[in-house]
């Protein structure tokens, strides 16, 4: 099988921002256990800025590494900036992914979007 980059392995072996946020402002879950990956993102938002983010991921090396990388990329960003981050940018930040693993980077992008959607929905109700 094609090798992962050093950066993917670093984020897989030492994932950043792992865990749950008990009083999260938004939670997004994407993926499917049948396909072997589920990503759950927790965000804290203050003044339109993502002040904290944590994740839990069930999946392969690429799924864990893209989760970890995307949390680093969006932390401290405004919601608009976070929504602009694409799966391609996540993959590039990891020095690339094997072609069959590109769908894992989609999950990272979708995970952030789902968490922000959830935050927006909760705030509309208020």
């Amino acid at each position: 099988m094609e090798q992962y980059s050093k950066k993917v392995m670093d984020h897989f072996l030492n994932p950043r921002n792992v865990g749950e946020i008990k009083d999260a402002d938004g939670i997004g879950e994407v993926g499917n256990p049948v396909c072997g990956d589920i990503m759950r993102m927790y965000i804290k938002v203050k003044d339109n800025v993502i002040t904290d983010i944590k994740f839990l991921t069930y999946g392969c090396g690429a799924a864990v590494a893209t989760s970890s990388m995307v949390t680093e990329m969006v932390k401290g960003k405004t919601l608009e900036e976070a929504l602009e981050i694409s799966n391609k940018q996540v993959a590039e930040a990891l020095d690339g992914l094997p072609p069959i693993k590109m769908h894992c980077s989609n999950l990272a992008e979708e995970g952030i979007k789902a968490a922000i959607d959830d935050y927006k929905k909760k705030n509309e109700k208020k």
Partner: protein
């Protein structure tokens, strides 16, 4: 370099030094084409004859029932397509199982597109077929039963003697993909009523790229490869002389050492299984007793297989998984789904396949390392209630 702990012997095995020594003269010194007339070529021809005798002896077969091929995949393709083609006037129905290797499954699916009908027998949760289901599946127009001897993923051993008996009574050809079994457990084609059997040298310390299809004398079968008159006109192509010599030596050694190695490897296997099952939420796949001596296959719930393999690779441990992420598809192993595992559990499988070169120290090292790997991955998992 980091020490390698190789526990993926179902994928391939290391070529034995004794086998390599036997093969070496047939690359540079005795390079003649066995079909040629001069003395140099006779060296090659007699080496093939000797390898054929060793192979026949190992299976309890006649020498003229041994056909050398390029490996297990070719043997499976030839057996199934060849019997289907030669017997299509008699019928168009084939019976196989849902847990076969892709070399059998995809060949059957191909034949379905050509107008054949295939029954894929289910298996019980231990990975073994139900003989009543087999009997019920047999039709007037059934021409072939193809059931693997032992499964490559979960090691389950099928009731081959009973299947052979049923097939013989009904006058249906019986093919078995014995790629994982040959050289590891005893096989006698006559006692077991096997009509066709596939084997591959690299699964028992022989070279890659060479295998055998055993075809019982009198079996109606068409060629897969057309061309020269090699292998009694049934399998064309200049013989892989060195490979065939290697296969012959490897099967001879494997059968000689079978009892000794089988006992040793089974003991390691059970030590490994018992140790792994102490990890919480771990299940054994396959039958605890009716399994290949070297096969260990477990699922760790809530985590995914490829991520386990990456941690093991960091420690120099070579293993495999039925997770989708170890292949190009998004589906987990068809074998693990067939034994009734939910997809998310099937993705968390780990296969460790042992050989006589593995040691108790290696087994204990893995048992020492795996709990913390599983724990680390579970800490990341959204599937587990915290």
């Amino acid at each position: 370099m980091q020490k390698i702990i190789y526990m993926d012997n179902a994928a391939t095995t290391k070529l034995s030094q004794k086998v390599l020594d036997e093969m070496m003269p047939y690359f540079v010194k005795n390079y003649g084409n066995p079909s040629s007339i001069y003395s140099l070529a006779q060296e090659s021809a007699s080496a093939i004859k000797e390898a054929r005798e060793k192979t026949a002896k190992a299976l309890g077969a006649q020498t003229n029932e041994i056909y050398f091929t390029s490996g297990g995949t070719e043997s499976d393709n030839w057996a199934i397509k060849g019997v289907a083609d030669a017997n299509k006037e008699k019928g168009k129905h084939i019976i196989t199982t849902s847990i076969e290797h892709h070399a059998v499954l995809h060949t059957c699916q191909y034949l379905e597109k050509q107008g054949f009908e295939v029954t894929y027998l289910p298996v019980e949760s231990n990975g073994i077929i139900n003989l009543d289901e087999l009997k019920k599946a047999i039709r007037e127009d059934t021409i072939l039963i193809s059931i693997m001897f032992a499964n490559n993923e979960i090691g389950s051993i099928q009731p081959i003697a009973e299947i052979g008996k049923i097939a013989k009574e009904k006058g249906i050809y019986f093919h078995t993909d014995a790629v994982q079994a040959v050289g590891h457990i005893p096989i006698d084609v006559n006692e077991l009523n096997i009509d066709l059997l596939s084997l591959s040298a690299h699964k028992f310390n022989g070279p890659k790229g060479v295998g055998v299809l055993y075809i019982r004398n009198g079996t109606k079968i068409s060629n897969l490869l057309h061309g020269g008159a090699q292998e009694r006109k049934l399998r064309a192509g200049t013989e892989n002389v060195a490979g065939i010599v290697g296969l012959g030596k490897a099967i001879e050694i494997a059968v000689e050492d079978m009892n000794k190695n089988g006992e040793y490897v089974t003991e390691l296997r059970d030590r490994l299984i018992n140790g792994l099952l102490k990890i919480p939420d771990t299940i054994l796949n396959g039958d605890p007793k009716l399994r290949l001596p070297g096969n260990v296959n477990v699922c760790f719930k809530y985590i995914e297989g490829e991520s386990i393999l990456l941690f093991l690779d960091q420690l120099g441990i070579c293993a495999s998984s039925g997770s989708a992420c170890t292949s190009a598809s998004l589906q987990p192993s068809h074998v693990l789904l067939a034994i009734g595992l939910p997809a998310e559990v099937a993705h968390g499988s780990l296969r460790l396949t042992l050989s006589n070169e593995n040691t108790q120290e290696e087994v204990d090292y893995i048992l020492n390392q795996l709990p913390s790997i599983v724990e680390k991955l579970r800490a990341l998992s959204p599937l587990i209630k915290k």
